[in-house]
Symmetry: C2
Subunit: 252 residues, 2 copies
Amino acid sequence: MSIHLDNIVEEGGFKSCAHDFQTNCGNCRLNAICLPLALESEDVEQLDDIIQRSKPIQKNQHLYREEDDFKSVYAVRSGTLKAYKTTDDGREQVTGFYFPGEILGMDGIANNTHASSAKALETAAICEIPFESLEKLSTLMPNLQRHFFQLMSREITEDQQLITLLSKNSADERIASLMLSISARNARRKLSATAFRLPMSRVDIGNYLGLTVETVSRVFSRMQKMDLLSVDNKEIEILDIQGLREMANLGG
Amino acid sequence: MSIHLDNIVEEGGFKSCAHDFQTNCGNCRLNAICLPLALESEDVEQLDDIIQRSKPIQKNQHLYREEDDFKSVYAVRSGTLKAYKTTDDGREQVTGFYFPGEILGMDGIANNTHASSAKALETAAICEIPFESLEKLSTLMPNLQRHFFQLMSREITEDQQLITLLSKNSADERIASLMLSISARNARRKLSATAFRLPMSRVDIGNYLGLTVETVSRVFSRMQKMDLLSVDNKEIEILDIQGLREMANLGG
DNA sequence: CGTGCGCTTGATAATGGTCAAGACGCGTGG
DNA sequence: CCACGCGTCTTGACCATTATCAAGCGCACG
């Protein structure tokens, strides 16, 4: 019933298309998210020079795998990815979902080896940022250096949020929080904060929030019964965002 | 029954004492942990110049508080600290324990505001590293820049480990993992891997691992009954490290 | 048109939380 | 030095939440 408008909606309406290799950081409409720094235009050009835009990766394809050599970090231009680790007994821990404008792969810097795998949840266009070049450029551009310190710090604070969520909150609260997070990230990209299509499966949500599929499904049913949202498979509509906030127990 | 030998054991036996303000990075016996980088001696001197060594902080004193302005990151010279966030409903999520040689405070970079509080679990000596100076120095010393990217990346991978632990592992597994982690960090500082004093309370352990005090206590009792370790209040002796590894379910 | 995967729903079980009581240990003050 | 009191830890009984097991539905894809 739903048509994939993602690519068009995401970038097509502005100056560039997500799959257009000519896109550069200067005209990318995501740069407010991806590069919220006071880079002079000449700086942006220099950054542009080191960024590689490759052909889109398909659903279920890997961007990198755990234990691959670390070479680059990646910015999402369109589509969504999940990062995940596989535990010794074969279960999957999703460590993050990455939407357009967001950057992933920074966990690989510590040991020059990716600490997690990254897989496309739908067709995705990616900017590859070779880390060695980025390091060199960072010594020349203090703004860029600061920006990457901040990006990594943000990843830390977000992981800490998730730690708190997992350790202190009920299934209802975890899922309400995730819905609000996705809603906010949509809003940041000027998309609807109340109606969207989940790019990930129920299993992925469970593996992110430390819950089983059954529990995820039951919570969605419950939320629907409470008229907090309407759920049609992956299509979500938030009907009562205030009620959802109360369920998430995050205050506000 | 146990005498606090920490300061003596920690640094006194080598060239410097933890509470000696004359200590510098070059002669600090923790520098293999704190600065595992190929810094030339002149580089170390430059780094030394920006580092501030203040008087020890006492048990229960704060190094910084959530929402304080972010100015510095900190290296632990002796003692132990916990970093924690307070949830909206007043509960405490411990996000990490920091032992000598480890660095904390990096979560404050993202928003120029500390995202967590840090409190001493026992008297602690700290090196303060003003972040602005560190940034400036990093543009001049690519090794130092890389080192800090790596430190932050390590913080990310450690948070992801904790996320996995919280979301996939039982109470037994969580506590066994923590004991093994403390054991390994002791070994790295040339202390006993099998006998140590826990610097944190049962409540702190619970708030770190997402468990109640009662559960923490029960798990310790169970482990003792299984002859995996002997517990005398905060004194821990690991009796069967292999058995503990099996309980932790981390393979090996 | 069938097969399979993803999702939902129900019944049951287990893990850990909650509440309560008591022990132990430590620091303070008499 | 001992007594008191509080905070921390332990243990038990009971309960709630979520996992597990099982079955069935429906859409997508071959």
